[in-house]
């Protein structure tokens, strides 16, 4: 039986399990049907190792359920970053890491042969020159080391510290890192900068903070690299609803981020359909960069123009005959006592017009691709909606139907109670 190890070779392996435990947290061992039960046990144990303080477990009628319980408002650092700091390595890797940096710390440069000999002399460990050479090359690529060629020999030394590291600005930069390690893309990299300084975030807390996004950063990096090179892309898309896996190809143009629903999307242009489409980032895997796309800037410009009419991520409503859908929402808001609700309409209305009709009534109107996407937002005004008119009548019908169902649901509860 293979010995259990905390560390992992492949990030993808842990990504799905961490997501399942963090987002859902109600599945038991038997629900993880995609992999063997042995794999489940190992991944569960690994996540327990990474996130000990945040792991909860309990027995339900279905069996033991494990979940990650975190109040993201009250943590200094995203605990899921642990997965990024769990890459496995060999005995040679770790020894060479400390030997090479220890020797080169004096600022002098050395050849591969010089370093290999010095390691044997200083620490009593014999390495093949080729092993040392590969490690030096790897660290040069990471910019930990710098090399200089003299004749046929290549001399290595530790990279110089950046000029700003010795300036008074550095302390402020670390304060900024404490913030951006949580609010910026690829925040776990910021956390490694703090690790390097042996410090942590003692200044900031975070609200509306979706910790799970870090698990998509690998895929995001590949997609941004493709966008940077203005290339087409192919990837696998696994539907969150059906689990069905499809191959997709298109031109990646932007990443749409929701600060309220916890979702991020890749916006791609499908040439065959001549449409923009958003696809969930957490459903994407196996990204392959394809050839350069000649009209990249043109499509980006089109997207910039079009996205103003997106309420969310949809570029067309259910009534395909209508290019755009108009909505008019009449709300009961008292001018004297409830002006904060009107402020919320303006703040959250995404460009829609807000007009006070009388001291009790406010009109919100706008034109969007797909008004169906607005329904969750409109329902946040439950208790105030006087009327809704939409050029696509199915949207208004769905809202009134939902509100009626809610009335039935809660009045039935009252009767039960």
């Amino acid at each position: 039986m293979a010995e259990f190890q905390e560390l992992i070779k492949n990030f993808e392996k842990i990504r799905d399990y961490m997501r399942e435990f963090f987002v859902y947290g109600c599945k038991v061992r038997q629900d993880f049907t995609g992999k063997s039960l042995r794999t489940y046990d190992n991944e569960r144990r690994r996540i327990e190792c990474f996130l000990g303080d945040y792991i909860r477990s309990e027995y339900t009628s279905k069996g033991k359920q494990i979940y990650i319980s975190v109040d993201s408002k009250n943590i200094a650092q995203n605990p899921l970053y642990a997965a990024w700091k769990a890459k496995s390595f060999t005995d040679n890797d770790i020894m060479l890491h400390f030997f090479i940096t220890d020797i080169l710390w004096d600022g002098k440069e050395r050849t591969v042969t010089g370093l290999t000999d010095r390691i044997l002399e200083e620490y009593g460990v014999e390495f093949e020159e080729q092993t040392v050479r590969l490690k030096l090359k790897e660290y040069e690529e990471e910019e930990i080391l710098q090399s200089r060629k003299q004749g046929k020999a290549l001399y290595y030394r530790l990279a110089e510290p950046e000029a700003f590291e010795s300036s008074p600005l550095y302390e402020h930069l670390m304060d900024a890192v404490k913030l951006f390690q949580e609010i910026s893309a690829f925040g776990f990299i910021g956390s490694t900068v703090l690790d390097r300084e042996r410090t942590g975030n003692d200044l900031f807390s975070f609200k509306h903070h979706y910790l799970v996004h870090t698990l998509e950063d690998g895929v995001l990096n590949e997609l941004l690299e493709t966008m940077r090179r203005r290339c087409r892309v192919r990837f696998e898309n696994r539907s969150a609803r059906s689990g069905r896996v499809t191959q997709q190809e298109g031109v990646p143009l932007s990443v749409f981020v929701s600060t309220q629903t916890g979702r991020r999307y890749l916006c791609i242009y499908l040439e065959a359909k001549r449409r923009f489409v958003n696809m969930r980032l957490d459903a994407i895997c196996r990204v392959v960069r394809l050839e350069e796309y000649p009209d990249y800037e043109k499509r980006q410009e089109e997207l910039r123009r079009n996205r103003k009419a997106c309420w969310g991520v949809s570029f067309s409503g259910s009534s395909r005959s209508l290019r755009m859908e108009e909505i008019c929402l009449k709300l009961r808001i008292d001018e004297k006592r409830e002006e904060y609700v009107t402020d919320r309409l303006r703040r959250e209305g995404r460009g829609g017009e807000v007009l006070r009709i009388d001291e009790h009534t406010v009109l919100y109107s706008g034109t969007f691709f797909d008004c169906n996407e607005m329904l969750p937002w409109i329902k946040t005004f439950t208790g105030r909606i006087l009327d809704i008119q939409v050029s696509n009548p199915a949207v208004a019908d769905k809202l009134t139907n939902d509100l009626d169902r809610m009335y039935q649901m809660y009045t039935d509860t009252a009767k039960e109670g």
């Binding site: 339900t60 890459k87 390595f89 030997f99 951006f180 893309a185 200044l203 703040r347 009134t400």
Partner: protein, 332 residues
């Protein structure tokens, strides 16, 4: 650039700390285990310490009495990697960086990193549902107040503020700020603190100030008695979690779990009814926000309790029914 790199390994950090400790004096197995327990994952010590003691990782030299000294003599601080520099360079493009630096200082930092490629650009991301009245990061007064507050949090100093709340009536507030909260949805910073009593004798209550509503603030010296911020945070919690039932209709389970992923919660599948029950723990000051978020799911979520929370849901739903069906509500 590969994001998933050995260089950032938690194990390397643990070993680095063990080497640092054992450079100054011999360390015991127990000390190594403690360091691994503190800085590693929960089972790291079981893997790391035997490797070091057995010499399989020949980084330590065994000394008498079962103690160990580092073979590495230098206190190495690794240079910033290409990935870290690219990330820092990308962050320097964010308008919020000016909360920490002047324009000139940002230019100097950018100049130092000019050779590095950007890892991402702000323009790569489109935040389509972010509120449109984010804080004025470009205003001098805002930046000055932000820096004063940040410094006070770090140095555990008191702050005196001239504050203009939503009602417009300016007031002077003395507080101990203990952290600065950023909301991605609102694109706003808020100061979380403990307010001081008017007579200066101790703390009165928890307070949250919108950074953008602070007219001015100044450092009022060190706080001689520090409030128990852990207890304070715990006291902000609502006594009971909201209990909801999720039907699963319209992909509601997935939508709901992701939507409320930022809250501490506990979910269970009720097999006999084919529904999910979820407890959501929340701070009292977020109650209205949570309430309208739950309403946004419509009938695919049913709030079951606690009673005062459920009462608010029912009131709104009932009022809504009356509004849409033009019914004059009865006096009850």
């Amino acid at each position: 650039m590969d994001l998933f790199s050995k260089t950032y390994s938690c194990y390397y950090q643990v070993v680095g700390r063990i080497l640092e400790a054992s450079r100054k004096r011999p360390v015991s197995r127990k000390e190594m285990e403690e360091l691994a327990g503190r800085w590693g994952f929960s089972e790291s010590a079981l893997y790391i310490v035997p490797k070091l003691m057995s010499g399989q990782w020949a980084l330590l030299r065994e000394e008498p009495k079962g103690s160990y000294l580092s073979r590495c003599g230098s206190d190495v601080k690794l240079p910033l990697t290409a990935l870290q520099k690219s990330w820092l360079k990308s962050v320097l493009q964010d308008p919020r960086i000016y909360l920490f630096f002047s324009e000139e200082e940002v230019c100097r930092l950018q100049e130092d990193l000019k050779e590095e490629p950007l890892l991402f650009k702000s323009g790569d991301f489109y935040y389509f549902d972010r509120c449109q009245d984010g804080d004025p990061y470009g205003e001098d007064t805002y930046r000055r107040n932000f820096r004063t507050m940040t410094e006070a949090v770090r140095s555990r100093h008191l702050i005196e503020t001239d504050y203009r709340p939503a009602d417009g009536r300016r007031r002077s507030i003395r507080l101990f700020p203990f952290r600065i909260q950023y909301s991605a949805k609102d694109d706003k910073f808020r100061v979380e603190g403990m307010r001081l009593k008017e007579n200066g004798g101790g703390y009165s209550q928890a307070i949250t100030l919108n950074m953008a509503r602070i007219v001015s603030c100044r450092d009022a010296g060190p706080a001689y008695t520090l409030p128990d911020t852990e207890a304070l945070i715990a006291s902000m919690r609502a006594e009971e979690p909201v209990l909801i039932e999720i039907s699963g209709e319209r992909n509601s389970m997935e939508r709901c779990m992701l939507h409320f992923a930022s809250y501490e919660k506990r979910t269970e599948y009720i097999e006999e009814r084919g529904v999910y029950r979820c407890e959501i723990y929340y701070d009292r000051q977020d109650e209205t926000e949570l309430l309208i978020q739950l309403l946004s799911f419509g009938p695919v979520i049913r709030v079951l309790g606690p009673a005062p929370f459920l009462r608010q849901v029912k009131e709104r739903v009932k009022r809504q029914y009356h509004l849409l069906h033009d019914i004059i509500p009865s006096s009850d």
